[in-house]
């Protein structure tokens, strides 16, 4: 179990109950728990949506879609039941923020789910956990059971006549692809985890054909805090058009890796050098993967950028899921690129041609390249393949595989060329220690 870290620059909103024993429902209630949902019941859906819109909260899963707007898209009247879906399928390499959230503050997710349900008029919420987080299910299930015991979930919650809400927990079977919202719905319905054709979007036709709001766990967990502090106050914590704070998981070659809650727009350089304590063992910084493995890499001289969706896009990369991976000079980019594409090749669902064949092809070429059988043409081929995967695939997984590959080949082309000449960084593949219990052997 990773130890909790903290730094004075942090602005603790979502993480304010971390390490305070808030898994216990009484402790949670003591720390202002379940107040926001009662406030929400009193003030009604329109107020909730307006507060969310005012907060400027954008989806914490990676795409950064404004949450209030997403909730307002759900039709008021629907023949089929509406659903709230919490995406806890946190599978992006380098990302471990939802993990600590479920570990330390599961009730905030439950409360947020209820608020979303109230906002859209849904009576059922699902919390979907990543297959590899099966051990977290115990914690979440206990929290749900406690909430039921208190009468916060079920029929007539908080004693309010006619206000019902149920929460069902579920884990996946361990597929990265299921982090995509429509694939998650397929998985939850018991089918193969492959994405659906859009439109129709989940807000109109989602889980079991009903209108569905699907949000990242961190997004959902922000909702109670926003309602308590007020949307505008939350917005002020962050930068322009990027309201609030965000959990950043800083990992790799830094002195103090961990999950930190920083205001949106916080400088990446400060996050690495101040908050995370700088590069380990006094080595030099080589590159940063800024928001989970699918984001294009930043070189050491490109890290003077604010950590919000817009500034990162301007820098040619993405904020993604907030998993900052710091690489020092000892890392071979060829090896790192291979390791990245190996992941995407393994996780491609096989649905569409460019992703299925492209990831496989790049992996094969890079494997051969890495083993010393490469040539200059291979670098061009990898770039050509990645360029032709971009924007051509059914779901964003293809882009997620192509973008970092393109980043490596374009920004570190010289290193690929030097690799051919035998000038290699002698370093074993980066050792990653699995957090918590390992995944089931043989599971895909």
């Amino acid at each position: 179990m990773p130890t909790l870290v903290s730094h004075p620059d942090e602005v603790k909103v979502v993480s304010r109950r971390f390490g305070m024993g808030a898994t216990d429902i009484d402790k949670y209630i003591e720390l202002d728990g379940y107040k926001a949902v009662q406030k929400a019941i009193e003030n009604g859906p329109e107020w909730i949506v307006n507060e969310m819109k005012a907060s400027g909260l954008r989806g914490r899963g990676g795409a950064g879609f404004p949450t209030g707007m997403k909730w307002s898209f759900v039709p008021k009247v629907s023949e089929k039941p509406k659903y709230v879906l919490v995406n806890g399928d946190e599978s992006e390499p380098g990302t471990c923020k939802d993990h600590v959230l479920f570990l330390h503050d599961p009730h905030s997710v439950i409360e947020g789910t209820m608020i979303a349900g109230l906002a859209i008029g849904s009576k059922v919420g699902f919390i979907y956990l990543r297959g590899e987080y099966r051990y977290l299910l115990k914690i979440v299930e206990k929290a749900v059971a406690d909430a039921y015991a208190k009468g916060y979930l079920g029929k007539n919650i908080f004693g309010k006549e006619g206000v019902d809400f149920d929460i069902i927990t579920q884990t996946g079977a361990g597929a990265y692809e299921v982090g995509e919202e429509s694939a998650l719905m397929e998985s939850l319905e018991g089918k193969r985890g492959v994405p659906r054709i859009k439109p129709p979007f989940p807000a109109v036709v989602g889980l079991y054909g009903g209108p569905t709001v699907i949000n990242n766990a961190e997004t959902i967990a922000n909702a109670p805090h926003i309602l308590l502090m007020g949307g505008e106050a939350y917005a002020k914590l962050g930068s322009e058009r990027n309201g609030g704070t965000r959990l950043f998981g800083i990992s790799g070659h830094v002195e103090r890796p961990g999950v930190y809650e920083l205001p949106m727009g916080y400088s990446m350089r400060d996050a690495i050098y101040k908050v995370a304590g700088g590069i380990k063992d006094g080595k030099k910084l080589k590159a940063v993967v800024p928001g989970g493995s699918s984001c294009p890499v930043l070189k050491a001289d490109e890290i003077d950028v604010g950590l919000d969706f817009d500034q990162m896009a301007k820098a040619g990369t993405m904020l993604g899921s907030g998993g900052i991976v710091v690489l020092d000079e000892s890392v071979s980019i060829v090896e790192f690129a291979l390791r990245t594409i190996r992941f995407y090749q393994h996780e491609s669902c096989g649905w569409c041609i460019p992703c299925r064949e492209g990831t496989d092809w790049i992996k094969k070429t890079l494997t051969r390249f890495h083993a010393g059988g490469g040539n200059k043409k291979d670098i061009d081929n990898i770039q050509y393949l990645a360029e032709n995967m971009m924007g051509r695939t059914f779901c964003p997984l293809g882009d997620a595989a192509a973008m970092p590959t393109l980043g490596f080949v374009k920004k570190f082309r010289s290193e690929f060329e030097e690799y051919l000449e035998g000038k290699r960084v002698e370093h074993p593949l980066i050792q990653i220690t699995p957090i918590g219990e390992p995944a089931l052997a043989g599971a895909h």
């Binding site: 090749q345 996780e347 491609s348 569409c352 460019p354 032709n388 924007g391």
Partner: protein, 793 residues
């Protein structure tokens, strides 16, 4: 849906809102390539070939998932799009084996076509290919796994189209693989296997050569064959099948059956028999020479002339000595309309008897007489066509099991329910598979259909729902006939009706009057104009009393009253379980492909051509008339049409009165004036030539031209008078409804001689044992333990 206007490649187009862009473009003649898109199946958007540039969209969009919208501006061909498609092809070809020279799809492969079009032929793929061994899933379906491009057409076709769900995807990513429903661990030989209807629809849908047909694989190449679209000879549904034929020593041989033009009533569909069960035609046991029984009691091959002369003379002797009514004629439900008509005309005018019958598989006489004079609510005839089953908003299925016995009917019902949300009502004594599509199911006791028809009159949920349907098509299985059928028709006064019969031309044989008690078109033996025309044409006066039916003939034979029996394409000894000794004193002539149980008893056996080896027309169970085109050819056999005409000639009959051909036609002895001079006034003998002239038709020059008889059918058979030659010859189906009035009056106490053939998906009457494919598939299915035809619940 209101129409919307949009622009594609600068062309202004209009299509109903909600139309898919790919379909809208196709109807405007703009072809957008796609592997995974298949009309009528669910959308996949997996192949990324149909990418187009839609104005204002951030990236290329897929035309197969985009619906047209007002003002949309689309570009379907540009360097950017061509590059996207080329790259997709390059990616696909990375792991695709380059074995086009041996691949069955080579020459008709969508991947090949696209590779040529987008110039992705040069590969820079230098990695080892993912290879997997080929699998044999069943005797008729093979899967060459590396060739698969994972378009999922087969998976959807099997699940959505066939409602079987025998195919699925295993593994993920680049190890994804299509797999059948029987895992190696469950199969007797520890190989993955397919337990399904073996229809081969997955093979048809496959855009590449991944799924190949067990009967065709590695035999030839597509361009080496001639492709002939004709009608399947097996069940009564009337599917069009395209036969690939190639030249061999003995003529031309069928090597493949498929459904490539998709213009028939069956659309995409073809079942196991339609696709593969042509192999009886190439069976080694096929007769190829006439046989005559010698004094030693053995059948010996003789020349055609000898056999025909012997048979004709002997038949004449027996007719003259024992009388016309001592001779019986048995027709077939697989011969063409022309042959059936000709055979009954032979019986009635050459021999001069009404002793003619065939193996009846549905009661079309009752259907025609019960529906005569009635119309639907909007004044239309009440005979349903196969197309109605595909389009009608509501269908009532009473009896029968179309999934097994009439697969196209089942397909059309399923498609209609799936795509048009049609309401299906099923009443059956079994839990048939179509129950899965049914909105309501009424269980019926076995032999309890009379009670069910009575219950329609009372107000229960089922009958209320059925009677509330304004446009109802009732499909009736062969459990209902005679009085029960008439009662059912009366109980649903505005519905359209169709009967399910068992063979390609069961309906045609009935319509053409291969029955002892009615003339062609269900006209009366007594008093109808056709009766008097036959009377005038015949050599001996034909009686106006009904002749012997099929069983009556054998009774007469047993009693020693049947001097001769002429059997065309039928095996009554086996089918009706008749004791061979019944025919010991009867002179028997049999025309058949094989030495069947009936043929071995014959004195003369003529080797006959099958439906794939001749031209003509057939009428399916629903009354849809279609053209039969000659596909194959076999040395040593003759069509039944030719044999009947030549037998009549050897009988000593003027064949011009049997088949109106050549100049002079019926006006024997007159100079070649087409008979108008006399015929128009006399009103008797030359009506045919007058009618031909009036309809701008040419007289036929050959006595073996089936169209000479089709002319006559058109002239004398009510219902068939409406057929359009252009439609027929274009290969289109036309629905034939018998005359609205003037049909035979059914006598009470008419014998029920309908004997359902009870064929399944893998049997086809006597042909079953001559088709090695059907035998193989039966063995394969017997080794699988699950029952895929069982209802879901």
């Amino acid at each position: 849906m209101p129409d919307v206007n949009f622009i594609v490649d600068g062309k202004k187009l209009t299509a109903p809102a909600g139309t898919l862009l790919i379909d809208a473009c196709k109807s405007a003649g703009i072809e957008i390539p796609a592997f995974c898109y298949y009309p009528g199946l669910s959308l996949q958007a997996a192949c990324r070939m149909c990418v187009v540039r839609i104005e204002k969209a951030p990236k290329l969009g897929t035309a197969c998932t985009t619906t047209v919208a007002e003002g949309m501006n689309v570009t379907t061909e540009s360097p950017e799009i061509a590059q996207a498609r080329k790259a997709t092809l390059q990616l696909l070809l990375g792991n695709h084996p380059l074995d086009c020279p041996v691949c069955d799809a080579g020459g008709e492969c969508e991947l090949q076509d696209m590779t040529f079009k987008y110039g992705a032929a040069d590969s820079f793929y230098a990695e080892p290919k993912n290879h997997r061994e080929e699998q044999k899933w069943s005797p008729v379906v093979y899967f060459d796994r590396p060739r698969c491009i994972l378009c999922y057409r087969c998976v959807r076709m099997c699940g959505e189209g066939m409602d079987i769900f025998a195919l699925g995807v295993q593994n993920r990513g680049s190890s994804s693989i299509i797999a059948p429903n029987v895992a190696p661990s469950e199969s007797p030989d520890h190989m993955a296997a397919l337990d399904c209807e073996q229809c081969g629809m997955c093979i048809d849908a496959c855009p590449v050569g991944a799924l190949t047909s067990g009967t065709y694989r590695y035999k030839t190449r597509p361009w080496e064959m001639n492709h002939v679209a004709t009608v399947c000879t097996h069940c009564g549904d009337g599917c069009k099948t395209t036969l690939g034929v190639r030249s061999v020593n003995e003529g031309s041989e069928i090597v493949r059956g498929d459904n490539r033009d998709k213009s028939g009533m069956n659309g995409d569909f073809l079942c196991n028999k339609g696709r593969y069960a042509f192999d009886f035609a190439n069976n080694i046991e096929r007769l190829s020479s006439p046989l005559v029984r010698q004094s030693d009691g053995k059948l010996k091959p003789v020349s055609w002339e000898e056999a025909l002369t012997f048979a004709g003379k002997k038949l004449r002797e027996l007719r003259d000595a024992k009388g016309a009514n001592s001779i019986g004629v048995i027709g077939s439900n697989r011969t063409t309309n022309e042959e059936s008509y000709l055979l009954q005309k032979f019986a009635r005018t050459v021999i001069g008897t009404n002793n003619i019958d065939h193996h009846r598989t549905a009661d079309f006489v009752t259907l025609a007489t019960a529906l005569q004079g009635t119309t639907t609510a909007d004044g239309k005839p009440r005979f349903a066509s196969q197309r109605c089953v595909e389009k009608s908003p509501a269908i009532l299925l009473i009896g029968g099991d179309p999934t097994n016995e009439a697969p196209l009917t089942a397909w059309n019902i399923r498609t209609n329910v799936r795509l048009n949300k049609a309401r299906l009502y099923v009443a059956n004594h079994q839990d048939i598979k179509l129950k899965r599509q049914a909105k309501a199911f009424a269980p019926v006791a076995e032999f309890g259909y009379a009670a069910f028809i009575d219950s329609l009159a009372s107000a229960n949920d089922f009958s209320t729902a059925v009677k509330a349907e304004e446009k109802l098509v009732v499909v009736v299985g062969n459990e209902l006939r005679g009085g029960e059928l008439a009662k059912l028709i009366a109980a649903l006064p505005h519905a359209k009706f169709a009967l399910l019969a068992d063979y390609a031309n069961s309906r045609g044989a009935s319509d053409m009057g291969v029955l002892p008690d009615v003339l062609p078109g269900y006209q009366s033996l007594k008093g109808s104009t056709l009766a008097s025309e036959y009377g005038a044409a015949g050599q001996s006066q034909v009686a106006d009393a009904p002749g012997l039916d099929l069983l009556g003939m054998f009774d007469a034979a047993s009693a020693g009253h049947l001097s001769a029996l002429y059997v065309v394409g039928s095996n009554p000894i086996k089918r009706f379980g008749i004791d061979a000794s019944a025919l010991k004193n009867t002179f028997v002539i049999v025309q058949d492909m094989f030495l069947t149980e009936t043929a071995v008893l014959a004195d003369v056996v003529f080797p006959a051509a099958n439906l794939y080896e001749k031209a003509g027309s057939v009428t399916n169970s629903y009354g849809d008339l279609q053209l039969v085109a000659k596909a194959a050819d076999k040395a040593g056999v003759r069509s039944d049409f030719e044999l009947i005409v030549r037998l009549a000639d050897k009988f000593g009959h003027d064949v011009k009165t049997l088949v109106p051909f050549g100049k002079g036609l019926r006006a024997a002895g007159m100079s070649g004036d087409m008979g108008q001079t006399r015929g128009a006034q006399s009103g008797e003998a030359d009506r045919h030539s007058v009618w031909l002239t009036a309809n701008n038709l040419e007289p036929k020059l050959s006595p073996f031209d089936p169209f000479a008889i089709l002319d006559e059918i058109q002239r004398v058979v009510p219902g068939y008078d409406k057929l359009l030659r252009l439609q027929l010859l274009s290969g289109n189906d036309q629905h034939i409804a018998p005359a609205a009035s003037g049909l035979v009056q059914i006598q009470t106490g008419r014998k029920d001689l309908v004997l359902p053939a009870a064929d399944t998906l893998f049997t086809s009457g006597s042909l079953t044992r001559f088709s090695p494919m059907l035998q193989d598939v039966q063995r394969h299915q017997a080794s699988e333990h699950t029952d895929h035809l069982a209802s879901a619940d």
